[in-house]
């Protein structure tokens, strides 16, 4: 009884110290105090909401061309442009007046820039979510848990294969996979379309999404699997797991109820990083021309199309719509927010960083 009383008083003391809050409440409170991380969480959520619902709000289609309205200046940035032009007078102002219909103006084919950006965000959102769900969550967590829990030869095989994947120059193999697999997938989907009567799958960019996220998912599991495995190996020896197993908990129950919740903080940190990484990889692949193919809109393709120096001058002096600046700004802002979010999550949730 004396021992039990000791444990109870210890538990009481611990409860008083934390105010009876769970790890999650404490973590959330720590996180909420970090204004930068909170702000970046809001920006990232807006990016994802924009990607999901934006195309419904977009007034124009991403491929609707209007050749009398090329490079119409942005309507939204007019006040800023007025300031810029008082300091640096524009030698040859645009013949087209800004129009509230095109908030960010139009690109070289007269397509509405704002609508294209929303559609491009959708591409990033779909590809990154799909890569994260399949690669990091499904493959990574499952393989990591298997390696950590079963051990022996399963562990050896999974970790050795992971080592091989890590030795690859990631971007190089993703490019290789998407460059070699794409024609096969196109062939396969076209065959499927002809036999089943479905149409528009290839045209809608569906194939590009599959190829890009598949190539990325194949690589993104290694990091998270290693961490999960390490955590499990560590936790497996702790008293409460031994106790759970002693009273007859099955392996599945031990993993799902006892181990997984205790590794969730690390998983959340890793997922935020892998989501940001997937958005970045899609951008690089599309910019290089092996990812999303035009006319399917993607921020990477938009940046690549408009990176010439002459065009940049016209954008900075507000003669043209910000065809390079706007997608670049959005992409950079999202990456920056992912970095800040990762930093904040790490401080709030990582037990080793306390």
């Amino acid at each position: 009884m004396a021992q039990e009383g000791g444990i109870q008083s210890l538990a009481k003391e611990a409860q008083e110290r934390t105010g009876g809050k769970s790890l999650w409440v404490v973590g959330w409170e720590r996180f909420r105090r970090k204004k930068l991380a909170m702000a970046s969480l809001v920006v990232i959520s807006l990016f994802y909401l924009g990607g999901i619902f934006g195309p419904m709000l977009a007034q124009f289609s991403y491929r609707e061309q209007n050749l009398d309205q090329q490079f119409q200046p942005a309507w939204l940035t007019q006040p800023l442009c007025a300031v810029i032009n008082t300091v640096f007078p524009n030698p040859s102002p645009s013949k087209l007046a800004p129009d509230p219909e095109h908030l960010l103006g139009t690109d070289r084919l007269g397509r509405d820039l704002w609508s294209r950006i929303l559609w491009g965000m959708r591409t990033s959102v779909i590809v990154s979510l799909a890569a994260m769900l399949t690669g990091s969550i499904f493959l990574g967590v499952t393989l990591g848990a298997l390696a950590g829990f079963i051990g022996r030869w399963v562990d050896t095989i999974i970790m050795r294969v992971g080592e091989i994947f890590l030795a690859f120059p990631g971007l190089l193999l993703v490019i290789l996979i998407s460059a070699t697999i794409r024609p096969r997938v196109v062939q396969w989907v076209t065959g499927f379309q002809e036999s089943s009567g479905f149409s528009g799958l290839v045209e809608s960019g569906f194939v590009d999404y599959i190829v890009v996220f598949g190539a990325m998912a194949a690589f993104s599991w290694v990091g998270i699997a290693r961490i999960i495995r390490g955590q499990i190996l560590q936790l497996r020896e702790t008293d409460y797991i031994v106790a759970a197993q002693a009273i007859g908990a099955t392996t599945t129950r031990t993993i799902l109820v006892h181990i997984l919740p205790n590794t969730l903080n690390i998983i959340i940190i890793m997922l935020s990083a892998s989501l940001g990484g997937a958005v970045g990889s899609e951008l690089v692949l599309s910019w290089l021309g092996v990812g999303i193919q035009p006319p399917t809109p993607s921020l990477g393709v938009m940046i690549w199309e408009n990176q010439s120096q002459t065009l940049l001058f016209d954008q900075l002096s507000c003669r043209y719509a910000p065809v390079f600046l706007a997608p670049s700004f959005i992409a950079s802002a999202v990456f920056f927010c992912f970095a800040l979010l990762g930093d904040g999550l790490n401080d709030a949730l990582n037990p080793r960083a306390r």
Binding site: L36, E163, I164, L166, A167, F168, P169, G170, L171, L172, L173, I175, L176, I177, A179, T180, I181, P183, R184, G280, L283, V284, W287, L288, G289, V290, I303, W304, Q307, S308, Q309, L312, F313, L316, F324, S328, A331, S332, F335, F336, F338, A339, L340, D343, A353
Partner: protein
């Protein structure tokens, strides 16, 4: 320790073998037929068959792979598909030196800036510029190379005429080797490539400095009356630099990937640009050799860092 090194060294060939097998499989079953590329407009089935026989392309897959591995062991990576008659090893060898110079300079700049940022932030914890420095570092490393390049080239080259915007030139030669590090053309690409590692190194340097600051020996150093400068430099900085070297290996991956893009954008004749060109031409021998080379570089760097770490910090024991 010795057993660990031997085990790692024995395992390395198997990793490289697996890497080569995967790339070889993808290359063999991927689109693009090397013989058709060689033939160009003229398509004579008799000649096609002869070329296939001469090059061993009519043999089964595993024989082709075995031949390839035997060739690689002799240092023969085959001939380029795109640049007919040129050996892959010559193509890579003539370019690797350029990329190494660019990568090393960028890494040095990035690590130096990151360490200074991290040190300043950690020693001024709680002041307003601590979060500002960390956020700046994160911002710098989250800017994509292809977003910074047009902007920087616009400001520094086109408007201010300060730096050349592209290309590669030798400042001087050491024997046959072209030293481009001292030529102004390297400044802009090196600056842009150095941005990538800054964020991670700043964060790590800050964390490791904050750990060192609270150690007993720092208090002792202050207690025995050393000047603040001596404490900071001799006792804090020296001890906090060590853990940062482990991420230098991780930065290598960032640099290689950034190198593909930067070399293409700046027109630098390095291996990164060669690789990107090879991809678009589906020049598989070059792609395979590049993959093997980068994979070996990763493995060797990580091994050297692991081993070097135990020499620098005797508390660590590798098993």
């Amino acid at each position: 320790m010795l057993a660990y090194i031997v085990r790692r060294l024995l395992w390395t060939p198997f990793v490289l073998l697996a890497v080569s097998f995967i790339t070889f499989t993808v290359a063999t079953f991927g689109p693009g037929d090397p013989v058709q590329v060689l033939m160009g407009q003229k398509n004579d089935p008799v000649i096609v068959d002869r070329i296939r026989q001469e090059r061993g392309l009519d043999k089964p897959f595993y024989v082709q792979y075995a031949n390839y591995v035997m060739g690689v062991l002799r240092g023969d990576f085959g001939e380029s598909y795109q640049r007919i008659g040129q050996k892959v090893s010559d193509l890579i060898f003539s370019r690797v030196w350029v990329s190494v110079q660019l990568g090393a300079l960028s890494l040095a700049i990035g690590v130096a800036i990151g360490m200074i940022f991290g040190l300043i932030a950690a020693l001024n914890q709680g002041k307003w510029y601590d979060p500002v420095i960390v956020s700046t570092a994160l911002l710098l490393s989250s800017l994509p190379v292809f977003v910074v390049q047009p902007l920087l080239a616009f400001v520094l080259s086109r408007q201010l005429h300060l730096l050349p915007s592209s290309g590669w030139e030798c400042a001087f030669y050491v024997g046959p080797m072209c030293i481009g590090v001292f030529h102004p053309k390297i400044i802009m690409p090196a600056l842009i490539l150095s941005l990538g590692p800054i964020g991670g190194i700043t964060r790590l340097m800050r964390a490791s400095t904050m750990e060192v600051v609270n150690q007993d020996f720092v208090r002792t150093a202050r207690a025995k009356g050393l000047s603040e400068g001596a404490v900071r430099w001799r006792h804090i900085t020296r001890n906090s630099i060590l853990p940062v070297f482990t991420v230098v290996g991780l930065s290598l991956a960032t640099l290689v990937e950034g190198g593909f893009i930067a070399e293409t954008l700046f027109g630098i004749p390095g291996v990164g640009r060669l690789a990107v060109e090879a991809f678009f031409a589906r020049d598989y021998p070059v792609i395979m050799a590049m993959t093997l080379m980068v994979a070996s570089a990763y493995i060797v760097t990580n091994l050297v860092i692991d081993i070097g770490y135990t020499f620098l910090d005797p508390r660590i024991r590798l098993r």
